[in-house]
Symmetry: C2
Subunit: 711 residues, 2 copies
């Protein structure tokens, strides 16, 4: 069901309406009246006849006219029965303020489920519970009680009322921007993040979507929606709850489990989301992305009066991966004509006092610089806005002239200008004018640079985006009968792990070229099979009770003679029995000895928020000690598989570092895709571990494979 009737409600019932001034049930009605909500307001409270001059109803179903949304301010335990009553009235949505649900643990979860069941039964969509509420600023449907929130083009979606308050305050105090909607998603008991995102995606008035997230219940669906949305609207997101204490705090706050940072961050960024880490940068990034053209060539010029700021900005932009190209000779010549001899015409450009007599010269410089085809955007740092304050009042008027011209320049050139000024606190009119034209102004150099960074990054994303390379979630499974049999056998035996030869058989069933391996029941068989394996063989114990074969001394490698194989077979059986006298020993796997080469590790697991994810890294110290691994949400595309391989820091070891021949990345990519296919095809798979896989100049060898099934 669309959220239109909920977020664009034309009538609202306030359940728990009150005459007590400090109560939410009073404040909300007061605010709706004060802010001139365009729809109908129905107070509901069985104990009152009239509230604020309006008729008060004993229950929602007693209201004569249609009701789109009910704001329910009463305690948790009252909600299910109120929803039943709302159902009778045909209410489309309810905003549940109360806490006391899933965020409190098992007891609360039961109540939450009961509430959601009542809602679904009655075709009611729920915002919350455990939320500060929601606002539609276009129709003045303010169910939050926070007054004077500025209107504008940003949709705000947060999991913390305090963060909403922070961002709305920041918008009021430091910008001319504002909001179309605010939704406090709360526990996401019914409506999920991705549904709000889809709604905002389709809302023509919303130009950017700003999110604060602690944990998500349906991360995959959200990513899928984000891939679509970010192609035409920027989504800016801060995800907190990384740290153990943060998670604890986030957990008690919203009841959704805060996820693994490395997986989440990567997944969000690949869906085109602008991920912000510092809360100071969250609103500015939304302000910038909602009003300025993106930087299309990842190149920025810096314009300054004096050093210091330019030096710091160059450092920060370099860290953010933005280039500061040389200006063209023509550009330098043109700048040279209007700037003093002491000016520096390299990038950063330093006017060196050349604007002291006429700061509108900044607009002339901006015009010249933005005409340079090497330059994709301009960052002005330092003193603009303060010439009138520092020197003479008439200079303020020149600054205003400059501001008008720079504002128009952005529109005309379709290249962004961002301004850092020391003088924002003095509120000079020129800075107000810049904001009017959509040029953001920051007193923080760090924030200004970060905003340049996000414009450039979003530009890079849109440029490199190919629909084919996109996120193919829920692509078709390629289930095989053989594979089903293997899993069925394990299940039948009450096992939740596949034995090594079963796991490998599953890979083979899907076309992986793994050399034949044989399960030997006695030493004679082992000798027979070893001959088939070639010049050297490996013997490994096979037992559902021995998962870590080496720990049980159940592996012998590089066996070349009949004697060696017999001894190895007997030792392995003896060791296994010693390790676990009750172990169910299925035999000894005889496999060809793999040549040595570069060992990599591939694994999959189920992430709390994003479902199946895959990990890749180069084995040994690089994974274990240096933690040099990459993650992707599954399934992955061929492009994604290729990028994974290249993203690890130790990639040069695969591409041919230090005079070595490059290794077979093609077959490695295929293996990653095959893992993706398996996880997709057999939803029973919980974890998969290929460790090690040996990569050669040509081909690979899967030395060991482990698959764990869901309980």
């Amino acid at each position: 069901m669309s959220l239109d009737k909920v977020l664009n409600a034309e009538s609202v019932a306030i359940v728990g309406a009150s005459k007590t001034v400090t109560k939410r049930g009073y404040q909300t009605i007061r605010t709706l009246l004060d802010e001139k909500y365009e729809g109908a307001i129905y107070p509901v409270n069985p104990k009152e006849k009239r509230i604020l001059g309006m008729k008060c109803y004993p229950k929602v179903s007693a209201i004569e006219d249609p009701v789109d949304v009910a704001l329910i301010t009463t305690p948790a335990k009252t909600i299910p029965s109120i929803l039943e009553d709302c159902g009778k009235k045909g209410v489309s949505g309810a905003v549940i303020i109360a806490g006391g649900f899933g965020e409190l643990g098992a007891q609360g979860r039961i109540l939450e489920e009961k509430m959601v069941a009542a809602a679904h039964k009655n075709n009611i969509r729920l915002v919350g519970p455990n939320t500060s509420g929601m606002m539609n600023l276009k129709s003045n449907l303010n169910l939050v009680g926070l007054k004077n929130a500025p209107k504008g083009e940003i949709a705000l979606l947060t999991q913390s009322g305090n963060m909403a308050l922070t961002l709305i305050t920041e918008a009021s105090v430091k910008s001319l921007k504002g909001f179309t909607y605010y939704v406090g998603v709360g526990n996401e008991a019914d409506i999920k993040f991705h549904e709000y995102l889809e709604f905002f995606d389709q809302d023509a008035d919303t130009k950017a979507i700003l999110m604060y997230v602690e944990g998500m219940r349906e991360g995959r669906a959200f990513l899928q929606q984000a891939y679509k949305t970010t192609l035409h609207k920027p989504v800016i997101l801060l995800k907190s709850g990384r740290s153990a204490t943060g998670k604890q705090s986030a957990g008690s706050h919203t009841g959704a489990l805060a996820g693994i940072s490395e997986v989440a961050r990567g997944a969000f960024e690949r869906a085109g989301i602008t991920v912000i880490e510092n809360s100071d940068e969250l609103f500015p990034a939304a302000e910038t992305l909602s009003s300025l053209p993106r930087i299309k060539n990842n190149n920025i010029a810096i314009l300054a009066d004096g050093g210091g700021h330019a030096t710091i900005a160059a450092d920060l932009l370099t860290d953010l991966g933005v280039n500061m190209p040389e200006l063209k000779e023509k550009t330098k010549k043109r700048l040279n004509k209007i700037l003093p001899a002491a000016a520096s015409l390299r990038n950063p450009v330093d006017v060196a006092g050349g604007t002291d007599d006429d700061p509108s010269l900044f607009a002339d410089c901006a015009d010249i610089i933005l005409k340079d085809r090497n330059v994709g955007g301009l960052l002005i740092v330092g003193l603009f806005g303060g010439y009138g304050i520092r020197f003479a009042e008439k200079l303020a008027l020149m600054e205003e002239d400059g501001a008008h011209r720079m504002g128009k320049l952005v529109r005309k050139s379709k290249k962004p200008i961002i301004l850092h000024s020391l003088y924002t606190s003095e509120k000079p009119h020129a800075l107000h004018l810049l904001r009017y034209y959509g040029i953001p102004v920051y007193d923080s150099l760090d924030v200004a640079c970060k905003c340049v960074g996000v414009l450039a990054k979003y530009g890079r994303y849109l440029k490199q985006y190919h629909s084919k390379a996109g996120f193919i979630l829920d692509s078709k499974s390629k289930i095989k009968t053989k594979g089903q049999e293997i899993i069925r056998t394990a299940r039948k035996e009450g096992r939740n792990c596949l034995l090594e030869h079963e796991a490998k058989a599953l890979f083979r069933a899907h076309g992986a070229r793994i050399p034949a391996e044989y399960l030997a029941d006695n030493a004679d068989e082992a000798v027979k099979y070893a001959k088939k394996a070639g010049s050297a063989a490996v013997l490994k114990i096979v037992s559902p009770d021995i998962l870590h074969k080496s720990d049980a001394k159940g592996v012998r490698i590089n066996l070349k003679t009949e004697d060696a194989i017999r001894t190895a077979y007997n030792d392995i059986i003896k060791n296994a029995k010693k390790f676990d006298p009750k172990a169910d020993i299925r035999g000894v796997l005889v496999a060809p000895m793999a040549k040595s080469g570069t060992e990599v590790i591939i694994g999959t697991k189920i992430d709390d928020q994003f479902g199946p994810v895959i990990m890749f890294g180069i084995g040994g110290i690089l994974v274990e000690i240096m933690k040099d691994v990459v993650f992707r949400v599954l399934p992955i595309s061929p492009t994604a598989a290729g990028k994974m391989v290249k993203e690890i820091k130790a990639y040069p070891l695969l591409s041919g570092a230090r005079g070595q021949a490059p290794l077979d990345q093609k077959v490695l990519r295929k293996l990653l895709l095959l893992c993706s296919e398996l996880v997709q095809s057999y939803p029973e798979i919980k974890e998969m571990d290929l460790n090690p896989v040996i990569v050669y100049e040509s081909g690979i060898s899967i030395v060991d494979a482990r698959i764990i099934l869901k309980e």
Copy 2:
């Protein structure tokens, strides 16, 4: 010579005094008069009789009374002769505003040297050149022209006038703090950073020193002073110019080469300096460190009203290495008595609306929390300061009560409180009161957390500081006759590199246990020497013309038979001649074959700013691809050597990861110290490279050694 007469000057001559209102020579006099400078002012200009009602002198030497300092505002080329004149008068210091010296390259450097020579000859110390000037805010000696800079307890030392303006503006607008002195160090032509630091160290009114640095001329002297200063006064520093473009910009700005980030950052931090990376955090860190007690146990509690902010803060503090311990049961019980049932009593503490009726409860909570011995400081996040604004005016008075009590609590408990508030822009009186008591208030959660971080980090530094572990720069050299001979021989032959056997001999001369190696002149000798070397030998070409022996196919390893050695010898000589027919071949070095083990790399070089530095890392991919190395400024102490070994990410490989035996760290530390000793003893050494050194469970083997001498 002390800087007292310069920075505390009781009389000042303004050379280049002017009647033109926009000129520096007018503005400065005007400012000195307006701000009521306590000393004597003497305008100097041969063309004027009186300026601003004061007698104007044709030259400094014409002034009747003593002159401590001359502010010289005239162009670069005039300075040397003016200094000669100042010398006649016995002036102690001169502030040189003009640019056009070293920052412009070779031509400028000549003029700078001439100026410095004139100053030294006349016993004049120079501030600048290429500076915005200097201020003593205690005596109102304002030679900058910037008005209304707030007075306080922070000394400001910057290499950019813009950054000084930024920091002074920030102090005025966002704090109640101010400055004792400001010095724009400019090109550091005469007075260097460390001299200012020493002066501020000794100034009783200065409680903290705030620095912005682009490049330093005498980094070692600065570090040495910093080690002393930071023991009793915090030094807060932002170093820009990390990036290539940043360096370019910094270079054109101050003429000092911006240094290598990894070396500089590490060196500064080990000297106890609070290194800041974001310019937004620079002033707040100084504000915090100058007014609050440090966090002594690295433990912080967070107090919040609602989630969101607390979650973000917990993330940030975790990243900053600060612990958030559980509160003691007693503390929780006491909090429980005054907070509602919904409150979370874990850390972060969430009052959950419990302060809505009386926000002075924050002070009660703070008192209870700070009494907890687990807690070293308190961060309050969110809404304090806004209860009066959000709910009712009388709550503002309760907030003020709370502010008074919290202010006194910090003094009494000697534990810091830092406050984040959404409401700073509304300027509620309660927040003003907190600042009055020295409790900093920030509207940025990131900045508030960073300030907690620096208090905790400084606390950690002071706690772990042992004078013995400190920075022993210029410890005694241990020069040996044998070592001198080796270097003399190389010099005599016109070489600036030591041959491998010479380098090893140098190490041996200083007590390193390197097995004997022999230089063979023919295959027979090689065979003879190889027998001494043990079961397997290595042969390597020795030629001053072949630095990279492997590239010339000049190395053969693992030679076990007479035949193999003869063949190897002949091949090596043949290959060397082929590689460079003119090569001066000294023979072939015969060494015992080292057992295999973990390879590490040790190197030294001369850093532009800090002089000799040493690098350590684990060989192969970890250094080459993962860049897992640590640096230290030389010389190093035994403690520092131990820390270096432990600081690399791959340290587990040395300490015994993955079931391996731990390696011989003791002898590795000794080798690092020996490298330090060699660089200290022979200042001729420019670079040293021990690559690889093989580390065993017991002992090490220096497989190859290279030493390059200064030109």
